[in-house]
């Protein structure tokens, strides 16, 4: 079902299905992603991904190649264009070629599956991503993760590491959020093995079944978590921890799932949180005016809790701030939020 196009909820995560899948495939370092369709479908995605990567300090051009379907391809069918592009890309010996379809190639009925099933000497993975069929960004993202997970090798017995599933590769604080989860896991003596999918090579993806535990970025990835649980028996946590209470709950949930003692780690985390709040004592009683565009995010309980803890008020006369689109991850997410607010108060 299509869940995009509502103006009130329009943001970067609700674009075309293609964009969702690209946010995953372009994170596989040795992959080339072929967009089977007109150049425009690839172009605006290249700009978006490039901008997002630059914001995150990685100004690389994503490896996306369109089949550049023209009117000729639309009239006579684009299968030969796809095959030619695949042959040309295969010559470069990438680790994998992902093939993403578009509205137009699905409309004219190109049989991309059979073109992809031929032997090009490198693995070719097809992802149907025509937005008009009712998909949106998150469908493309889920489909990419599910398809890649299905390619993983079977495993015997759980390993030692934790696998991170479905990071939001286009969000500003993707690395900070990862670091926070990694820190919390480390406080329980756990290590992250695979980031599925960020900064990996195609061969690494095969290990998605080897973790002891999967941590999903957000609850909407539940189908991916379930699929992995069914296939490899790996338990999962359905979301990154949100805010202060979320961090504590996260530690406890990991402990329960893996049978670990958590009281020490929880106590240290609570101390860390109160020390962090103390360091913002200068903000006590401050007044903020919240950017109306982001006002709904105030309903985010973890933000409310911190505002109450520091006795922060909302009033149109106060220092203008905006709230983040995605709720702050962990103790560190709250600290960064408060830092931004402090800069506004002292501006």
């Amino acid at each position: 079902m299509n869940s995009k196009t509502s103006h009130s909820s329009s943001q970067r995560y609700e674009g075309c299905t293609l964009t969702g899948a690209l946010s995953i495939t372009t994170q596989v370092e040795d992959a080339v992603t072929v967009v089977h369709g007109p150049e425009g479908c690839a172009h605006h995605n290249v700009s978006l991904l490039h901008a997002a990567m630059a914001e995150q300090g990685h100004p690389a051009i994503p490896k996306i190649v369109p089949t550049r379907l023209s009117e000729q391809g639309v009239i006579f069918g684009g299968e030969e264009d796809l095959a030619a592009t695949l042959r040309a890309m295969a010559d470069r010996r990438p680790g994998v070629i992902f093939v993403l379809t578009t509205c137009i190639t699905e409309t004219i009925g190109d049989d991309a599956a059979s073109v992809c099933s031929e032997d090009y000497g490198v693995p070719v993975v097809l992802l149907p991503t025509a937005g008009f069929l009712g998909g949106c960004f998150s469908d493309g993202l889920n489909a990419a993760l599910t398809t890649m997970a299905a390619k993983a090798d079977p495993v015997e017995g759980a390993g030692e590491t934790v696998t991170i599933i479905g990071e939001k590769n286009l969000e500003y604080e993707v690395e900070e959020n990862f670091a926070e989860v990694e820190r919390l896991l480390a406080s329980l003596g756990l290590e992250v093995g695979l980031r599925f999918v960020r900064d990996v090579r195609y061969a690494d993806l095969k290990q998605v079944g080897t973790g002891r535990l999967n941590v999903l970025r957000e609850p909407s990835l539940a189908p991916v978590g379930e699929a992995l649980k069914e296939r490899f028996g790996t338990p999962y946590i359905s979301s990154f921890p949100i805010g202060l209470d979320g961090s504590i709950a996260f530690l406890e949930e990991v402990g329960t799932l893996l049978g670990l003692r958590t009281d020490g780690a929880v106590r240290r985390e609570e101390e860390r949180q109160s020390a962090m709040l103390d360091s913002f004592a200068d903000l006590r009683g401050s007044v903020f005016s919240i950017d109306p565009m982001t006002f709904r995010a105030l309903e985010c309980t973890p933000v409310r809790r911190v505002m109450e803890a520091l006795d922060l008020q909302v009033d149109s006369d106060g220092a203008g701030v905006s709230l983040p689109y995605s709720p702050p991850v962990g103790t560190a997410g709250i600290r960064r939020l408060l830092h931004r607010w402090r800069r506004r108060v002292h501006a």
Partner: protein, 272 residues
Amino acid sequence: MKQIALYGKGGIGKSTTSANLSAALGAKGLDVLQIGCDPKRDSTRMLMQGVWIPTVLDLIREKGEDSVSTDEVVRKGFAGVRCVEAGGPEPGIGCAGRGIIATFRLLERLGALQGDVIVYDVLGDVVCGGFAMPMREGYAEEVYLVTSGELMSLYAANNIAKAVARLAKRSKQTCSLAGVICNAKNMAGEEELVREFARRINSEMVAYIPRSRTVQLAEVHKQTVMEYAPDSEQAAVYQELAGRVLTNDRTSIPTPIEMDELEDLALQFAEI
């Protein structure tokens, strides 16, 4: 310049009617262009003495759109009628609707869409947007529905009337219904049935073309009736149609009827 289009069920005889109409118009000394809009590309074959002319889309496919010249796509046939076949992709591949659009754009760019009369012979059994294209884009200004008295053929004609009525609501619309041509199967009561059908959809039967062996004979000689038997009764029928088309200035916005009404109509006239 008159731009007319013949629409109707596949196999009803649109190409035979179009080719003979064009030939009759050409014989009157008019500059006529006939464009076959069907991947089957057999619209202009009888005008070309059985020669399959290269299609616009084949040429586009082989040479690229920019290298195609007017001489390659427009061929002169009987009575000076200039013939074009749009063609299409291989069955089951790509989008022929888009192909028809590309063909028209190319002809326009080449300046080939001119003359006294342009006859568009439009494919019958198509449901996608491509089939309405000549009407939608304002190429076909006067639409003629070709039908026999058979129910399925009337049904198709009624559906096309729906398309014309729908397009007529648009602001830039230029197409309207110019009449119904009965290409008879020689069923009893057929002429009255088609005449009444035409009246019900707010139009008029402009020609009754009886079924004739001459048509088949002309066909095996790879000629239009106008060329094969210019003095035959059948040739006179096409000449009359040509005269009617040239002078026809009565067009209408059709009022398509319901399937039930169509069936009742057929029952009422058919002498079973």
